[in-house]
């Protein structure tokens, strides 16, 4: 198939814009593949991995723009190339139109807005550290959404921030809520007495949404980035965040959510938390709870953490409604003895690992595939599968599944149609920054899967993370999924329990 690689020297565009551009070009007639990226080392490797190679590409520099096209004939390539030129030249983002009012650099912005206490950074990881350093040196708190920031740089930045009494949330920080204002991917939740610190974006989203549903609320939620609790980083920002919450008059109960903390870090944090004099709830993801002591309660799931915090904060409820909405569940034929394999398809990484742990704790064999499930290949192994669609091998060159559901919907269609699969389990994470209306796409994919299966039943278990205040409205999203035959649960843990019960043939317990 003919292909073409065009290099535009020194023409920088941000990745979100380029993704939109790539997608538009890929839809052009006769084009089978279109990749428009900056020629960073990583992107060049990506291009090579999909078969785009040229000497010119090898000598391209990080600020050069690469347009790589593959199509059915030269005319199609020609057309797409011209279309790309046209789109690039009429770049209509706000950046271009409001150019005069837009500061050209962080230094300029800091000079023009001396009152700004927070700098939010979502630029490519190789540059993010440099920008964050400038902000910290100017005495500003930083919300660092970018990932792929080298570990040594993270450690140096966090040391610098700690020395100046500043918060560095991130790198790889998905969520934060400060004084009720969400940053990154955050749900709109009631303000309330529970302060959260978390090294897991979706974990924080799940707990804050659940607190809202329980009638409680969140004072602040401080993200720390996924590596903060590693032995190397030593929980520098987790500790800083916890101390801030301990001193915060609006916070009566403290919640800590993190995945896989290093053992020595866990011990140190326990001693710190025990000395606060405020009730504390901890959820270490992917691990069973340790025994609680000295006012520090360890929960077994995100849901339990939210319920404990709600109880400690005197919320009107400390349990979620028992029943999942039963929805318009497709009737389970009694003669369908074995439901088949379960496949979990998750957008939230923490929710995926919590689901896997829940299924395993019920004695079910679960695998989390370390490579993508490709079309035309049989499903690996014989165990149930839990897939994190946010894994790098699914997201390379694409936005996160919480924003762009193309990959996940394709997996739902394909695996849902697979006769070996009988149960689908997935999450849906809402909030600012996420897909504006995700449920209809998922519902369509489910419908397609069902149509392909004919009469064989497909049981679908889903959870919706979010609130009725979110731009997508959690109730409306839930309604759409239910009409598509999914059983919707108020938490990811509960959806996993529901699916496990189905597989184990436990009936009528919660339905």
């Amino acid at each position: 198939m003919p292909e073409r690689i065009l290099i535009h020297r020194a023409q920088y565009h941000d990745s979100a814009y380029l993704m939109r551009l790539s997608r538009r070009l890929a839809q052009s007639e006769g084009i089978s593949e279109a990749v428009v990226v900056m020629a960073t080392e990583m992107n060049r490797a990506l291009l090579a991995s999909v078969g785009f190679r040229s000497a010119e590409l090898d000598s391209a520099r990080p600020l050069d723009l690469v347009v790589a096209l593959r199509g059915k004939d030269l005319a199609a390539l020609e057309r797409a190339g011209a279309e790309c030129e046209r789109l690039l030249s009429q770049d209509d983002r706000p950046a271009a139109s409001g150019a005069a009012a837009r500061p050209a650099s962080l230094r300029e912005a800091l000079r023009e807005h001396p009152q700004a206490e927070l700098v939010s950074v979502a630029v490519p990881g190789e540059y993010a550290g440099h920008v964050a350093r400038q902000a910290i040196e100017a005495g500003r708190h930083v919300f660092l959404f970018s990932n792929n920031v080298p570990l040594e740089q993270e450690i140096a930045l966090k040391r610098e921030a700690r020395a100046r009494d500043l918060l560095l949330m991130g790198p790889d920080c998905g969520t934060a809520i400060l004084g009720g204002v969400g940053l990154g991917f955050a749900n709109r939740v009631r303000r309330g007495p529970v302060g959260l610190v978390g090294a897991s974006g979706t974990g924080l989203q799940e707990v804050s949404s659940l607190l809202h549903q329980l009638g409680s609320g969140v004072s602040h939620a401080i993200g720390t980035g996924s590596r903060d609790l590693s032995a190397e980083v030593g929980a520098m920002m987790t500790e800083a965040g916890l101390r801030l919450l301990a001193a915060d008059p609006d916070t009566r109960v403290i919640g800590l959510i993190a995945k896989h903390p290093a053992q020595e870090v866990a011990e140190r944090l326990h001693r710190l938390l025990a000395g606060f004099g405020k009730p504390v709830v901890v959820r270490f993801l992917g691990q069973p709870a340790r025994s609680s002591s000295a006012g520090v309660k360890y929960a077994d799931s995100l849901e339990e953490a939210a319920c404990l915090a709600a109880r400690l904060s005197g919320a009107p409820r400390d349990r979620l409604e028992d029943a999942a909405s039963s929805g318009a569940e497709s009737p389970v034929e009694p003669e369908a003895s074995a439901p088949g394999r379960l496949v979990g398809l998750f957008g939230g990484g923490s929710l995926a690992s919590e689901a896997a742990l829940t299924l395993r704790s019920r004695g079910l064999p679960v695998e989390e595939p370390g490579e993508p499930l490709l079309p035309g290949q049989p499903l690996p192994g014989a165990a149930h599968l839990v897939v994190d669609c946010g894994e790098e091998f699914y997201t390379r060159g694409k936005p996160h599944p919480m924003v762009d559901q193309t990959v996940r919907c394709e997996l739902i269609r394909r695996l849902g149609a697979d006769p070996a699969v009988g149960v689908l389990l997935f999450d849906l994470v809402l909030g600012d920054g996420a897909h504006p209306d995700p449920a209809p796409e998922l519902a369509q994919a489910l419908e397609a899967a069902r149509a392909a299966r004919g009469r064989r039943p497909l049981r679908v278990f889903a959870s919706v993370t979010g609130t009725e205040l979110d731009p997508q409205d959690a109730n409306r999203q839930r309604g759409v999924l239910e009409r598509a035959g999914a059983r919707c649960f108020p938490s990811a843990w509960r959806a996993a329990v529901g699916a496990a019960d189905e597989l184990l043939g436990v009936r009528g317990k919660d339905a």
């Binding site: 990080p62 600020l63 500061p103 300029e108 350093r133």
Partner: protein
């Protein structure tokens, strides 16, 4: 950078303002909550070069950054307090420091005859004819190649020259003095520049025909003594004040000097009428000035040179003190490292060509006139000169944006050079090497385009930038110097 006031330091509250860089979706929550979100443009720092990013971080360490900041403030203050005055005219051999009988000065960084471009060679040949050392161009070329004269940059002798910038011993030169508080050893600093020949076939574009040489003789024998007598009678002229007015009349001091030339004419005319040998001489001199819209360029250039000389020798100042081209190389110097050239290949000017000429006729960028941009006008004050915007290929909006963009790489503004179209804000002044490197943004220079063959002259005008090599080398050298300072 000031730290936040204490009441703003606790992060656990609604942010007053969020500065956001990158994916817009990430700030959607804050926007939705009604918090002002300022979108900041992001370009990968240092063009994405990890080594330079690390060096820049080194310069950003608080203790060093504070010292650099202090040095830069001192540099800016010295530039702003300099008071360049036109005090007289003299013969180069007698007034330019270090000038010798066998020395020719030229624009840009040092260069040998072998590497000289067409226009500079042509000017050297013309100079040898003017000085009576050669009978014809062939002999002139032979003598130049044989090393009959030595070549040194104007900048090594407190001088500047447009295009080829040739200064030979017998040429008359303007004498400027800094009457501000920055004098060295109790004596005022001086800067020098030849008188502008006008347009068409002229030595500075490499022309050396007999009309060129005759004009140069007229300038030495009639123009210079007449002007000198008028200046003596009138007294020194405050050039900064004069140029400030010209800027508000549509000049930017590099490619447009019509207002400045007119103002100078008004300053000189009465004294000239009184002191000229006769009416006809006065008329010929005034006519010469009147016919040359660029007459004042040869005063804005040494004025810029004097302003920048005031910044030289401040050990940790990160600003640029010279940008100059010889038609082959582009060279810059730093205020912190006076005398040390950082050199890269001169670029081709993007611009409009006179009918019958095109880019293939163009010589690479040439001349000391980029000293105007270095001092904070010329291309940096484009917003003040809408009339020339079309000539350099653009709209008035482009002119405003050029000045705004240059504000992003400079240390501060010069309130003396106020730009009406930007609310009378001062022209962006003193190029900060660190900002050029970090933002990947080169200075914009307005310039004329010389024909690549000697003797043809100007073929167009346009915009040009320095080559990155100059700034990359200068940056490495500055970091090494700052480590030891």
């Amino acid at each position: 950078m000031k730290n936040l006031p204490p009441e703003n330091r606790n992060p656990l509250k609604i942010p007053q303002t969020v500065l956001h860089l990158g994916l817009a979706e990430v700030a959607q929550g804050a926007r939705g909550a009604g918090v002002p979100v300022v979108e900041v443009d992001f370009v990968p720092p240092c063009g994405g070069d990890p080594r330079r990013m690390a060096l820049l971080d080194e310069l950003s360490r608080p203790a060093l950054a504070a010292r650099i900041e202090e040095a830069n403030q001192q540099a800016l203050k010295r530039l702003l307090t300099a008071q360049p005055h036109l005090v007289g005219i003299g013969r180069a051999r007698e007034v330019v420091p270090g000038m010798r009988d066998d020395l020719f000065l030229h624009a840009g960084p040092p260069i040998s005859w072998e590497r000289m471009s067409g226009p500079l060679r042509g000017a050297v040949m013309g100079g040898l004819l003017l000085e009576g050392r050669a009978k014809d161009p062939q002999e002139a070329a032979r003598l130049a190649a044989a090393g009959a004269v030595r070549f040194e940059p104007c900048h090594a002798h407190q001088a500047v020259g447009p295009m080829a910038g040739l200064v030979t011993p017998s040429m008359p030169v303007w004498i400027l003095e800094d009457r501000g508080p920055n004098g060295a050893d109790g004596r005022p600093r001086r800067a020098f520049c030849t008188l502008n020949e006008g347009l068409g076939k002229v030595l500075r574009y490499g022309a050396f025909s007999s009309e060129v040489i005759e004009r140069l003789r007229f300038m030495a024998e009639t123009l210079a003594p007449t002007l000198q007598a008028a200046l003596e009678a009138r007294g020194p002229i405050d050039l900064k004040t004069l140029f400030a007015q010209a800027l508000q009349m549509g000049d930017e001091g590099h490619n447009r000097n019509r207002a400045g030339t007119s103002l100078l004419f008004r300053e000189l005319a009465p004294a000239l009428a009184r002191t000229a040998r006769d009416g006809e001489t006065a008329a010929r001199v005034l006519e010469f000035i009147h016919k040359n819209d660029h007459f004042f360029l040869n005063l804005t250039m040494p004025m810029a040179k004097l302003l920048l000389m005031a910044t030289e020798g401040i050990p940790l100042a990160s600003c640029v003190s010279i940008m100059a081209r010889n038609g082959t190389d582009f060279g810059i110097q730093l205020s912190a490292l006076p005398g040390r050239w950082f050199v890269g290949p001169a670029q081709v000017v993007r611009g409009l060509y006179f009918p019958g000429f095109s880019e293939k006729d163009a010589n690479p960028d040439i001349g000391d006139s980029a000293i105007t941009e270095t001092a904070g006008f010329g291309g940096f004050a484009m917003a003040a000169a809408p009339a020339i915007v079309q000539f350099v290929g653009g709209t008035p909006e482009d002119a405003l944006n050029t000045t705004r963009r240059m504000a992003g790489i400079t240390l501060g503004a010069n309130p003396s050079f106020a730009i009406p179209s930007l609310g009378f804000s001062g022209a962006p002044t003193l190029i900060d090497l660190r900002k050029v490197i970090e933002l990947g943004r080169l200075p914009t220079i307005n310039t004329g385009i010389a024909h690549r063959e000697p003797g043809v002259g100007q073929v167009g005008a346009g915009l040009v930038t320095p080559p990155w090599e100059c700034f990359h080398q200068a940056f490495e050298a500055f970091v090494a110097h700052a480590r030891e300072a």
